[in-house]
């Protein structure tokens, strides 16, 4: 299989340009020489890491304070991170991180991008410097073929220069590429090229002029997950009640060769590592220790396929998307977790600082656009951010749980984030602890006001006018009601007295104790009189009321009936007692009072129904 045309084209272009560049620019930078350059490229994952160890010697007359590093533009646009560590002298001592910036020296071809590493101390004449440059490239492995079926494994192409592209002459150099293992389809062969144990070696090459470039291409199998997040939004919300809540929204795609044709579940299930070798089914996130309340969901609900391990050093979360991701497939999900506040927010002389990692906790994931939002508590002031690499920054306001002024949000945006960017960054702010109590106080006051309003409403008379007819009518009606209640109570008592009389008769028939029966009668008489006395004022007041004309009729009726009943009862009582005293036979007594008995019963019923009717009104 031949390498794809586009890389070749680029290489050819570069080849064409290089002689021109070297001719014009070499003179200016001739005073540095790279005595040894070792490049090691790691192609095991989809993020390409190149570690270049340079030994630089100053052979010119003047001290040099910066070293230039050159990359073809095609590579430079995929450059996600570059770091340089310098050590001066022969012996490898503690290295220092060198600041790096993009420079545009005069007289260089526009197809190259230059970075300059500024040395902490200018390199004197004749001195050597060890320089380790770590460069990380994304999107540098081109899948070829671009579409594969489910059963095929994924082949990718990597292209680079076999010679180290440098503005300085290079004396000795080597170049080695670590491949993930598996099949190697083809690679560019130069005189001293070796492929052994998934390691491809070029070199050593000696005494090459500046800007030497010899394109090489390697076409090999790489089935490692090409997890590419199109966008990740990472929200860090600080609550001074003791929690740092992190919510991360992922939009993940498989960035490798696209799936062509069918996806067959039966093939995938029966032999997942053969039929479906290019897919990946899970991602691993390394969360900080003591992460709690972890969840994993997407917009349509919880995703049940995840595993969690935790120990004192880390919490490891394995998330499995709803479906295995084949090339070109994508999915979205959200993970969230809480972290203890004291591990990440520190307080020093009134100023608080959040110290937390920037990137996502996912392993070997490339994030094309990362937005980190730090939501500070409401009332935070003097916000200050320090990030170890350039980002786009702005501030927003977020309204959440009963906020009034809103919470300040620091937003950081960075493209092409790789695990190397997982560095700590700091947000400094001032926050007064009193502000914590604001929301609980608001709730307390709110509820208090509600209860107060209820109490006031229940206790006050809300009627608009005290003279309005409806209000007066209501007042009168209430009066009538209370009078009626009292009248009813009196009648209830009357009926109770009736019962007592009945009971006494009953006792009489059993024991023959006439005296006690008479006594009861006397007591009853007294009670009746008393009740009648009580009743009188009530009746008159009821009669005088306007509202009671309907009830009045009934009450009148009731009073009459009751009187009648009372009389009948008394009459019967006297009859019975009388006949008892005359020692008549029980049978005769019965006969004598039989008619009375019936009348009494009927009357009593009427009275009771009247009572009930009135009480229902």
């Amino acid at each position: 299989m031949a390498p794809p045309p586009p890389p070749l084209l680029v290489a050819a272009l570069l080849l064409f340009l290089v002689p021109f560049a070297s001719a014009s620019a070499s003179a200016e930078r001739a005073d540095l020489v790279v005595t040894r350059a070792d490049r090691r490229v790691d192609l095991t994952s989809h993020i390409v890491r190149v570690l270049t160890s340079l030994k630089v010697e100053n052979i010119g007359p003047e001290a040099v304070s910066q070293v230039l590093l050159a990359f073809p533009n095609a590579q430079a646009k995929n450059l996600a991170a570059i770091r340089a560590f310098g050590t001066e002298g022969k012996v490898k001592g503690p290295s220092t991180v060198l600041p790096i910036e993009v420079v545009q020296p005069s007289g260089v071809p526009p197809e190259l991008t230059f970075f300059s590493a500024s040395l902490s101390k200018a390199l004197e004449k004749g001195k050597t410097l060890h320089l380790d440059v770590l460069t990380v490239f994304t999107h540098s492995l081109q899948p070829f073929p671009e579409e594969i079926t489910q059963a095929e494994s994924q082949l990718v192409v990597y292209q680079d220069s076999a010679h180290y592209l440098s503005p300085y002459p290079v004396k000795v150099q080597t170049f080695s590429i670590r491949l993930p293992g598996g099949r190697v389809e083809s690679y560019t062969k130069y005189p001293n090229t070796k492929l052994a144990d998934s390691e491809l070696k070029y070199g050593p090459f000696e005494d090459l002029p500046p800007f030497s470039y010899s394109p090489m291409v390697v076409h090999f199998e790489n089935n490692n997950p090409f997890a590419v997040a199109k966008e990740v939004i990472r929200e860090i919300e600080i609550s001074h009640w003791g929690n740092v809540q992190i919510t991360e929204h992922y939009n993940i795609a498989h960035g490798g060769a696209k799936l062509k044709g069918e996806f067959s579940r039966i093939d995938y299930q029966s032999r997942p590592y053969i039929r479906g070798v290019s897919s990946f089914r899970h991602l691993i996130a390394r969360l900080p220790p003591r992460a709690h309340s972890i969840y994993y969901r997407d917009e349509i609900g919880n995703i049940s396929t995840s595993h969690l391990w935790s120990d004192s050093k880390k919490t490891q979360l394995e998330v499995e998307p709803r479906f295995p991701l084949f090339g070109g497939w994508q999915t979205t999900f959200t993970i969230g977790y809480g972290l203890p506040l004291q591990d990440f927010v520190f307080n020093s002389d009134g100023k608080r600082s959040l110290n937390i990692t920037f990137g996502s906790p996912m392993e070997e994931i490339l994030i094309e656009k990362l937005i980190v939002k730090v939501v500070l508590p409401e009332g935070s002031m003097d916000i200050d951010v320090s990030v170890p690499f350039p980002t786009k920054q702005w501030q927003e306001v977020k309204y959440s749980h009963l906020d009034i002024a809103g919470r300040p949000v620091v937003v950081l945006e960075k493209p092409d984030v790789i695990p190397e960017h997982n560095l700590y960054f700091q947000v400094y702010y001032r926050f007064n602890n009193i502000s914590l109590l604001r929301e609980p106080m608001m709730l307390i006051i709110g509820f208090f006001l509600i209860f107060m309003a209820c109490i006031v409403y229940m206790r006050t008379d809300m009627s608009i006018s005290k003279n309005s007819p409806s209000y007066l009518a209501k007042v009168q009606w209430d009066e009538v009601q209370s009078i009626i209640q009292k009248i009813l109570a009196i009648f209830e008592q009357c009926l109770a007295v009736h019962d007592k009389l009945e009971a006494s008769l009953h006792d009489l028939s059993r024991s023959g104790d006439v005296q006690s029966c008479k006594a009861t009668r006397k007591a009853a008489d007294a009670q009746f009189k008393e009740l009648a006395k009580e009743l009188k004022p009530l009746l008159t007041s009821l009669q005088s009321s306007h509202q009671s004309y309907q009830i009045w009729l009934k009450v009148e009726n009731l009073v009459a009936k009751e009187r009648e009943l009372q009389e009948k009862l008394m009459a019967r009582h006297s009859t019975v007692v009388d006949s008892f005293e005359k020692k008549l036979r029980g049978q005769d007594v019965e006969n004598r009072i039989a008619t009375q008995q019936q009348k009494v019963a009927a009357l009593r019923q009427e009275v009771e129904s009247l009572l009930e009717y009135i009480s229902e009104m």
Partner: protein, 788 residues
């Protein structure tokens, strides 16, 4: 207002008032607890599964709510949804009952304007439990109007956990019924309240509440037929009063006007037969009112004369009007009734004429066990409740009985309407239980009072009565039933009545002493009775909790099974929908049986051909026809509908019974109903749908069979279908016009893509060679494909 008054009569002024205040607080607290109970018993689904929208229709409501919260109310009314019923689309604003979505949307808006950041989904999930709490409070109010506070509390407690209602209102079951039941009960409450008070204020509220009900659910026709029935009943039984007039007339006028405001009802509010009863009764009511008025004006003799005159003229006019109406109604084929209503009146109607209504499982008549499952012990308590409603029969209690009787009929027609029966059953059981507790506790109280009074015996029997009333609170505290205390006083009325009847029957004055408090049962019997009632209640509670936790909490989009190695989760539906939503083009059309339409639009955000709003039978029949046609014909139908993907649900691998093969008979039946070349007998062997070796060739060659069983045989080598319980008929076959693009982990959802059309060049050459032959095949294809 009745309780405070009567209690002051029983026990002195100060003590009575204090007790009333205490009773009021206790009652409020109990209601609060009932609300909490109603809310929390519905949270099993969230605790056991997750906070997610359930089933099918709720997904549509959720989607509409999302649209509403995003675009506002005006956009909502004008929403033409082009993501469903492709290529017809659907006017959502005009065809949906907006009550539920507006409620949840308002709730969400309110919370968000208070800066409480709840998502629309969360609000939707918890709308149903919140409204169940409201419904139980409404039940309290309604029952209180009929039978007092005690019965009200009892009924509210029972309703808070009645399984029938839980089945429709667990957290996540975001359906119209969730708010409609509250609206139903509340409308009834306001009607009864108006009937009891005769207040125009409540009559207006009643019309508004009816409006809310019309907004929420098609079941509002139940209200607008039941209330006229009750009015008629009152008139017939001579209970006409001005209160009745006030309760009904404003409801008809205002209610109809308001109902016509809801786009989905519109002019139906005056034009369809469902609303006819209310107008008829409206007229009758006016006639009756007029008669009463004239009766008051004239002397009895004059009245008689006038009566004969009016009746003769009036009857003639009535006959004319009725004749016109009948002619009008009879001119429409369905007699002015909608299909769903007709299937209620004639239970066999749907299965004869509208297979699409009959195909829904919740439209089938219920079985006896489902009554026991859904209302449990209430079924035994209802008769007692009816009896106590007749003692004495008031306007309110006659309404309860009428409600129960009609609801019981409707529940017998459709399983789904069991939901309407549940509140009636709860109210009547609440009344029954409260009466029973009342009688039993009062007897105990009397017995105890007698025990205490026998020794002192100073004040005599009469004071014993009053002292027994004052000791009521201490005694009733012993009873489990909290509500007892607040209802001791009002409950005396019916018992007195009963006493009266007994007295009439016996009229033996010797018994007077005991009759003062009638029905005083022996101590042991009443204690036993209370104990038994508590045990009965206990059974009910246990059953309800079981039903809420086990039977009705599953969201049906996530299935779980418990096996020896722990819980197994089947999340295939969402897997498929997530795949569709992320890995297909946003404008791709997905064809599936209509059951999955709502879920596909809501979860996968893809355009579907048919969905659960089964408004276009032809369209559904087209999909049914495609599913039951051979592959090539099906491909042509789908292609003419612009379909890119076909989704089938297949349970044969894991034994999920409600899959598409089991629904297949409806696809054939509905498809065949419109396109006669699909003949049901072609798919039947001995009257059965079979997919095993005995299946008919038509069956084994239809698209549904092929899409379900494609490469199924490779799972176990035999092709054993776990749902049907046999090996499939045709095991090895290839798909020519479709390709498998996704199958979920447990094979429950399989998605196929229509293969692109073959290059036309060869076909053209062929056509040139033998023009007549191809044209004839195309013509043949045309016959089968309704869309060409």
């Amino acid at each position: 207002m009745a309780e405070p008054g009567s209690s002051t009569a029983a026990a002195g002024d100060g003590g009575g008032r204090l007790r009333n205040a205490f009773g009021g607080v206790l009652c409020a607290f109990t209601l609060l607890l009932i609300g909490v109970l109603a809310f929390s018993i519905r949270l099993f689904s969230v605790i056991k599964y997750e906070s997610v929208i359930h089933e099918f229709d709720p997904y549509f409501n959720f989607r509409v709510t999302q649209f509403l919260s995003k675009n506002g109310i005006y956009e909502f009314w004008n929403w033409f949804d082009d993501r469903t019923w492709y290529p017809l689309g659907r006017v959502i604003g005009g065809t949906v009952y907006p009550g539920l979505t507006l409620t949840a949307g308002t709730l969400w808006w309110l919370l968000n304007s208070l800066n409480i950041p709840l998502s629309v989904e969360t609000v939707c999930v918890f709308t149903a439990p919140i409204f169940s709490a409201n419904a139980s409070w409404a039940t309290y109010l309604l029952t209180k109007e009929a039978k007092g506070t005690g019965a009200g509390l009892m009924a509210a407690t029972i309703l808070a956990m009645v399984p029938s209602y839980i089945s429709r209102s667990v957290a996540g079951s975001y359906d119209n019924e969730a708010v409609a039941i509250f609206a139903l009960i509340f409308t009834f409450y306001l009607y009864v309240k108006t009937l009891n008070t005769g207040s125009l204020f409540y009559a207006t509220l009643n019309a508004l509440s009816y409006f809310y009900m019309v907004c929420s659910w098609g079941g509002y026709t139940f209200i607008i037929n039941l209330i006229p029935m009750h009015v008629l009943l009152c008139i017939v039984t001579g209970r006409y009063s001005s209160r009745l007039y006030i309760a009904f007339a404003p409801l008809v006028i205002l209610g109809t006007l308001l109902a016509a405001l809801v786009p989905v009802v519109g002019f139906n509010a005056v034009m369809t037969s469902e609303h006819f009863a209310s107008f008829l009764v409206f007229i009758i009511l006016h006639v009756v009112a007029l008669v009463y008025y004239i009766k008051g004006l004239l002397t009895p003799r004059l009245f008689k004369v006038a009566m004969t005159l009016v009746i003769s003229v009036g009857l003639a006019v009535c006959f004319a009007v009725v004749a016109i109406l009948i002619a009008l109604v009879a001119s429409s084929p369905t007699k002015g009734w909608s299909g769903r209503s007709l299937s209620l009146l004639d239970p066999t109607y749907a299965s004869k004429y509208i297979p699409i209504i009959a195909s829904v499982s919740e439209h089938q008549p219920p079985t006896w066990p489902s009554y026991f499952m859904d209302i449990n012990v209430l079924a035994f308590l209802i008769p007692a409740g009816i009896i106590s409603c007749f003692l004495p029969l008031s306007d309110a209690s006659s309404f309860m009985v009428l409600y129960l009787v009609t609801a019981a009929y409707f529940s017998g027609v459709m399983v789904r309407l069991m939901l309407v029966l549940a509140p009636a059953a709860c109210i009547l059981s609440g009344i029954a239980l409260s009466e029973a507790f009342n009688v039993l506790t009062r007897s105990i109280k009397c017995q105890l009072a007698k025990l205490f009074d026998d020794s002192p015996a100073a004040s005599g029997d009469s004071s014993a009565e009053s002292s027994s009333a004052s000791t009521a609170s201490t005694n009733s505290a012993k009873n489990e039933n909290r509500s007892e205390k607040t209802k001791t006083i009002p409950k005396e009325k019916p018992s007195k009545n009963r006493k009266k009847e007994r007295e009439v029957a016996e009229s033996v004055p010797v018994k007077h002493k005991k009759e003062k408090k009638l029905l005083v049962l022996p101590m042991e019997a009443s204690a036993m009775g209370i104990l038994l009632l508590i045990v009965l209640g206990g059974f009910y509670v246990v059953h309800c909790v079981w039903a809420a936790a086990e039977a009705y909490s599953a969201p049906s989009i996530v299935l779980t099974s418990r096996s020896h190695d722990g819980l197994h989760v089947f999340d295939d539906f969402r897997e498929a929908y997530a795949w569709l939503s992320h890995n297909t083009d946003v404008d791709d059309k997905v064809a599936s049986w209509w059951d999955y339409g709502y879920q596909t639009t809501a979860m996968a955000n893809r355009t579907v051909i048919v969905d659960n709003n089964t408004w276009n039978n032809t369209h559904i029949a087209t999909v049914g026809t495609a599913m039951s046609s051979p592959e090539k014909v099906a491909w042509e139908i789908f292609n003419s509908l612009d379909v890119k993907y076909v989704l089938v649900v297949f349970g044969g691998l894991v034994g999920y019974p409600s899959d598409d093969i089991n629904k297949f008979l409806w696809m054939v039946r509905i498809g065949g109903g419109v396109f006669p070349h699909i003949k049901e007998p072609d798919y039947l062997r001995d009257g059965n749908y079979r997919v095993d070796a005995q299946a008919t060739p038509t069956m084994l060659n239809c698209l549904m069979y092929k899409l379900c069983y494609y490469r199924f045989v490779e799972t176990d080598g035999k092709g054993f279908d776990r749902v049907r319980g046999y090996e499939i008929g045709k095991k090895h076959f290839k798909l020519t016009h479709f390709e498998e693009v996704f199958t979920t982990h447990h094979w429950m959802v399989r998605i196929y893509k229509l293969k692109p059309q073959k290059n036309r060049v060869r076909g053209k050459l062929k056509k040139l060679k033998s023009g007549s032959k191809t044209s004839s095949t195309i013509a043949a294809g045309r016959n089968k494909n309704p869309w060409q």
